[in-house]
Amino acid sequence: MSTENGLSKRFEITGGDFGKAGEVSTKIKEILQEIGIDSTIIRRTAIATYEAEMNVVMYAKKAELTLHLTPTKISIRVYDDGPGIENIEVAMQEGFSTATDEMREMGFGAGLGLPNIKKNADRFKISSTPGKGTALDITIYLNQAGKK
């Protein structure tokens, strides 16, 4: 993995901080706009990042999100220290959620988060160890050829 002709930036996300939720996805959006990335790709990236961010805010204590951008693709990695996911296959189903009533009252926890990330990504990898945390790998290609 070469980082020479790319841009890497790390962000920290704090669990439970609903007030700041969404700031990382906005910052990433601004970076992509300055670089001149196509607006549809920016929107897909913003949605995927926002959903990932929300998962951290709702379930984990903290997480590190890394944006890595090259002329061919946008990669986003999120490592959190949350409770992990018991059954990934089930968690990927639309409508599945372990959100508390409080979260639902705030309009979150519709069980669309992970499926929505997958929908907006060209490649999506998720791995999790219950009790330790979850890692997401989101890739969005910039050139037409790499697109889904």
Binding site: K9, I31, E34, G36, S39, I42, I47, Y50
Partner: protein, 452 residues
């Protein structure tokens, strides 16, 4: 030469570079260069925040002078409903329109009626719409420009109905030219505007197309003369005057007026650019999909808060609100004929004539690889800066300064915090230089040798 027309001009004679405008600009479109404010054309969305912020009156809104009327054989005043909010509770639209005619316009048109018609069209469109939601009102040209520049992906969510002022003016010209046997260009249609941005929407519409209006006159310019002109207008009965007000349209003067009179359930009303930006960020994240319609105005409280109005914006907001409440209570519905409107709606009468295109800010570089590299440089420069956004370099924030350096518009040494560091480096270089040159002068031992 200018790609974008703007309704704002900075007078360098009056500007003394106090940075107030640079600090309030929501799109970071102002820099201080050689002690004067300058505008970055592609970034400006004509919100007018800088006009209000400038203590010297150096930022001038470009509206038309009253004298423009003489260029036409027949003139019509089309006041924004915000004009109705500028006078006391007893002064209703009928009197204001009569006053405008006394001022020298051949006719004055009640735009609230067309606003009511467009409200109907919005309702119809919301019912048919199957695409992404929420739809966003296009009543405020600054909001439309904000979307073009900063939220290009939301452009298809701007409602495609035309603005009442354009529809009204198109219609008036058609009817008047027939009525008086005049050419359409001999009829002057003037919008009485609460803000400067309407001026650009006339000179350079956001969509590709041509405006049907001939100019915009500032409400603050016409307020004084209108007030005295109204003194000689005969007083009509209050009840009768109320009956001539279109309840569906009068609300266009204030934020939330459209949603309220249409009784839209899933709608939001937002005003103030910073608040709008928060809401638009949420739309982009896909958070507001259950909302049908968003009414957004860049000025606080809507058009009544425009920078070219006279009355305190809370008082004028309240006047419109009370008027709507009275009309609701009295069950007065002086509204356009729905069957007629439905026919016009099907004929596409209410829709924009041109297409809205995004207007994204130029990237750091046309070449993707180079742009990424420059963005990285910007980040690296930013990390060395004090991050206190003092503005002394002429850029509004340290982050924009880093960008200006990468773009070659500023020098790193423009940062006053860089200066001591530079001095230190320079003095060190100077010392080294002195040490280097010393051997050229013969030393004492050298001189002794020579004597021998």
């Amino acid at each position: 030469m200018n790609q974008y027309f703007h309704s704002i001009r900075i007078d360098p004679e009056k500007c003394d570079g106090r940075m107030k405008c640079m600090r309030v600009c929501p799109t970071q479109a102002i820099r201080i260069r050689n002690g004067k404010a300058v505008m970055i054309e592609e970034k400006c969305i004509d919100c007018g925040e800088c006009i209000t912020a400038c203590p010297n009156g150096a930022i001038i809104p470009l509206t038309d002078p009253f004298g423009e009327l003489t260029k036409f054989r027949h003139t019509v005043a089309i006041p924004s409903p915000a004009l109705y909010a500028q006078f006391g509770r007893e002064i209703l639209p009928d009197k204001i329109l009569a006053g405008l005619k006394k001022l020298g316009f051949d006719d004055a048109f009640d735009l609230a009626f067309t606003c009511g018609e467009v409200s109907f069209a919005i309702q119809e469109y919301l019912r048919e719409h199957k695409g992404p939601k929420p739809l966003i009102s296009n009543a405020c040209p600054t909001v439309v420009r904000l979307i073009q520049v900063k939220y290009p992906d939301l452009i298809d969510q701007i409602i495609p109905t035309n603005t009442p002022r354009e529809i009204a003016s198109r219609d008036i010209k058609k009817k008047k030219s027939k009525q008086y046997g005049l050419k359409e260009k001999e009829i002057g249609a003037f919008y009485l505007t609460p803000c400067p941005v309407k001026m650009i929407s006339i000179k350079q519409p956001a969509e590709k197309g041509k405006s049907h209006l001939d100019g915009a006159i500032s409400i603050s310019d016409i307020y004084g003369p209108l007030l005295s002109a109204m003194e000689s207008v005969e007083k009509a009965s209050y009840k009768k005057a109320l009956e001539s007000i279109c309840i569906l349209g009068i609300g266009w003067a204030m934020v939330g007026g459209i949603c309220r009179t249409l009784r839209l359930k899933n709608s939001l009303a937002v005003s103030g650019l910073n608040e709008i930006i928060k809401v638009f960020d949420d739309i982009e994240r896909g958070k507001l999909r259950n909302i049908d319609f968003i009414e957004a105005y860049s000025c606080p409280q809507g058009c009544v808060g425009g920078s070219l109005t006279v009355e305190n914006l809370y008082i004028s907001y309240n006047k419109i609100l009370k008027l709507i409440e009275t009309l609701e209570y009295e069950k007065i519905k002086a509204c356009p004929d729905i069957r007629e409107l439905r026919k016009l709606y099907k004929q596409k009468y209410f829709f924009l004539e041109g297409k809205l295109e995004p207007r994204p800010i130029k990237p750091l570089d046309e070449d993707l690889g180079k742009a990424i590299k420059k963005r990285k440089e910007k980040e690296e420069i930013y990390e060395t800066l004090p991050k206190i956004d003092c503005g002394a370099c002429g850029s509004p924030t340290c982050l924009t300064f880093a960008e200006d350096v990468v773009k070659g518009k500023s020098e790193l040494t423009d940062c006053i915090f860089e200066l001591p560091q530079r001095f230190k480096e320079l003095s060190q270089e100077l010392c080294e230089l002195l040490n280097k040159t010393a051997p050229l002068n013969p030393t004492k031992s050298e001189l002794k040798k020579r004597k021998k």
